[in-house]
Symmetry: C2
Subunit: 179 residues, 2 copies
């Protein structure tokens, strides 16, 4: 069931993505073209305070061409450890640091054409430091009860994949453990 890559050509190498055009041989011997968007991967954080509020960030997103409400996240820098990236992004975007970190696994955002892997973390025992957004990030931080954030998913007010997966996973983790 694997595809054999016969030829690869880079059409674009940018800051966030690279675009690759592959020629592949399928298991049935047919040869087809595949457009592949290469992405360095990212880390996203469900940051939960002691009162079960989650930290969400509101910002304009170029792909969606609108403002979205999301969990904090950021792209991995070259060779960066995902846990370190998550720690850095939480503080940059929200100003908070967390004492307790749990790994919630990973997912592919759009595995048909994009290599992006999103790592997910649960961050607890939060203390406020100060935010330091990057030059091109303009971010509002909002604190929302987790139960309300889940209702926002069900109403269609939260429509970002990593945020939906992170919050739905954490709601199950907390529901199961009674935390």
């Amino acid at each position: 069931m694997t595809e054999e890559i016969l030829h690869s050509e880079y059409l674009y190498r940018g800051r966030v993505i690279k675009l690759r055009l592959d020629q592949v041989r399928l298991p049935n011997r047919n040869i087809v073209a595949r457009e592949v968007v290469e992405h360095a991967g990212a880390a996203a954080i469900v940051a939960l305070d002691d009162a079960a509020n989650v930290l969400l960030v509101r910002q304009h997103r170029a792909g969606a061409a609108r403002e979205l409400l999301e969990i904090p996240a950021g792209t991995l820098e070259a060779g960066e450890d995902p846990t370190r990236c998550a720690t850095r992004e939480l503080t940059e975007e929200t100003g908070y640091r967390a004492q307790q970190w749990d790994d919630l696994g990973y997912f592919y955002s759009s595995p048909g054409f994009c290599t992006e892997i999103m790592r997910l973390f649960l961050a607890r025992q939060l203390t406020f430091d100060k935010p330091s957004p990057e030059e091109d990030e303009l971010i509002h931080v909002e604190r929302v009860p987790l139960a309300e954030a889940i209702r926002m998913i069900e109403r269609g007010d939260i429509v970002d994949a990593k945020t939906m997966i992170g919050l739905l996973r954490v709601a199950r983790v907390l529901g199961a453990s009674g935390v």
Copy 2:
């Protein structure tokens, strides 16, 4: 909080994606570049039989460079209605048709750089017709109890965004309604 697009240039127009380079002015007046991957959008289907098994498809995915277990899904054809796309893809990939369709909303796969919107549907009252995969799709269909599929998410055996969101949403819908 919006970004004003000052200039757009298409670097690539392909079969699945287009690549656009924008120059944008931020609300703070800074001017930055944005790489935007344009995608036509897609529809994905949580197909549930009368015994609460979900239909999953196993196939090689070019972005992930590996086989993944996912809910059936496909890219919208030009001007295609998402409900029609979902109906078509369910039959093409699994051979099943559904009598009952519910809209589960939508999400952005990776809104920072990609326009892709994924529409989600719950399909029930399934009857078997016959599969008709596209030439470059080689797909195995598996029937998995919904509760087991949720455990596969928690174990990291299901790592595709649309599949995780679709199954976690449906588990909540069924749990809440007692269906």
